[in-house]
């Protein structure tokens, strides 16, 4: 394992070393210490490496991630895993707003609570939150899954497209065009798979599913005269 101490190595140098890992390299086990809340730690990784960050991170940690499996032992600031493409990001603590924003793929796991706008405009990412999420989560969510083991704040799934939302606890309110939907066997199976991958021991039967009523985003030809 290679350890980089951010009290001694600059963030730019650390990120460049991670970016420089060549395809086929065996040097795939990395650890960062003393992150001190710095921004954009391990953003833009593109190698199947395993990275542990020991401590709290600032904004956009692991943004745009491809392939890498990142564990953050602490709190993550706004936009953790923002626009991630693949790989796994796991936060052991809480996350600030906009976790997984516009993520296209991969799995983001928040052990504690995620704040407002979790999964905003998500486009294929799977997000599993061990605690609760704040208001406006999954706003304009297009694809992927958001699993919330706790409660969801106001306006969940406002203006949602085809993302699938599972919430175990209370939903303060649903946003425009977001409705509760039937939990069919394929949903239970998908949810069970996500919980297992996230390492969370919860019964899929305790969750409810929410998604789009599809009344908002479809062009309705019968209304053509109104435009």
């Amino acid at each position: 394992m290679t350890v980089m101490d951010l009290a001694k190595v600059s963030l730019r140098e650390a990120n460049q070393r991670l970016h420089g890992i060549a395809q086929g390299s065996n040097d795939l086990d990395w650890r960062l210490t003393n992150p001190q809340g710095a921004h954009a730690i391990a953003a833009g990784l593109d190698a199947p490496l395993s990275l542990t960050v020991d401590g709290h991170v600032g904004f956009y940690c692991g943004g745009m991630n491809k392939q890498a499996e990142i564990t953050i032992n602490g709190h993550a600031g706004p936009g953790v895993g923002e626009n991630m493409m693949s790989g796994v990001i796991r936060v052991t603590g809480n996350a600030s707003q906009s976790a997984g924003a516009s993520g296209r793929g991969g799995l983001l796991i928040i052990g504690g609570d995620a704040s407002s706008r979790c999964g905003i405009s998500m486009k294929g990412i799977d997000i599993v939150v061990g605690g609760s999420v704040g208001h406006m989560s999954a706003f304009m969510a297009q694809r992927g899954h958001l699993v919330v083991c706790g409660d969801a704040g106001a306006n969940l799934g406002d203006s949602i497209y085809e993302a699938i939302l599972f919430v175990r606890g209370k939903v303060e309110s649903l946003g425009a065009d977001c409705i509760e939907k039937e939990m069919r066997p394929e949903h239970t199976a998908a949810l069970a798979g996500l919980l297992e991958k996230a390492g969370i021991d919860a019964d899929p039967a305790d969750f409810r599913r929410y998604g789009s009523a599809r009344r908002l985003y479809n062009f309705n030809v019968d209304h053509a005269d109104s435009y």
């Binding site: 001190q36 809340g37 401590g55 709290h56 600031g77 600030s96 707003q97 704040s115 704040g134």
Partner: protein, 310 residues
Amino acid sequence: MASSNAEFSRKMCGIVGLFTKNPAFEDRLGDYLSSMLIEMSDRGPDSAGVAVYRNPTKNDGVKLSLFSADDSYPWKTLARELGKELGDKIGIEVRASHAILVVHEDFPVIQAWLRFNHPDLKVMSAGNTIEIFKEKGLPKDVVERFKLRDLKGTHALGHTRMATESAVTTAHSHPFSTGLDLCLVHNGSLSNHNRLRQVLTREGIEFQTDNDTEVAAGYLTWRLREGASLDEALEAAIKDLDGFYTFAVGTRDGFAVLRDPIACKHAVLAETDDWVAMATEYRAIAKLPGADKATIWEPAPAQVYSWGRA
């Protein structure tokens, strides 16, 4: 328009706050807060300011933080003159462009005397424990100038300002205080401050600038004056203030944080057995001892978080 410029003046900015729970941390309050403030330099390199709650006055003394644009202002002469007027010995401590005076007289009397005799001086704060120091310049220079690291106290707030449109002046810097021992720092912008300023002016609240944050501070002063608790005043603010804000508020023995219902202005809270801290970004809090083990979370929208001393 100056007022619309003022709205543009806090799109960025950094705010920090520290409230000690363990008295052992009081000795290094200024040192810790200074480090937090400097860490927020990127968010506000134009001006910086702090409010520190320390050295409560005895026998109903009123402590004033005064500012003069003249660096070599004869503060001792002022203290002698005021002492003669009141038949009292005036305590004075000078820190760069500011001086802290302790007087034994009601604040409105002192205020009237100062206005009449020394209209060039600005009262930055008044109260039993509050002291405000704010100035143009990089946070590290402001810290150095006022020797903020030496300050001991129970709690403190700080602000780093990035003005994008309006003038960078000492008076436009934060924190703002419009009531005894009350101060406010703000990241965001208010949209109904002109109307609210008119309403509050009719209620007898006075304002020194066209700044929207000063209106928010004045609003809280008014609510508290009408008998509300700090929590009640902040709850009412959620209804009456329109705009984007993360506020940190200091009172004589308390500290509170409030975000608007949309909550897009950044804020993070951290708490240990020894202290509670808030900042625009966690990296400011990372400087504090024990931060790595702190409970950290983003404050929820439209929810009042407050801590106080019993």
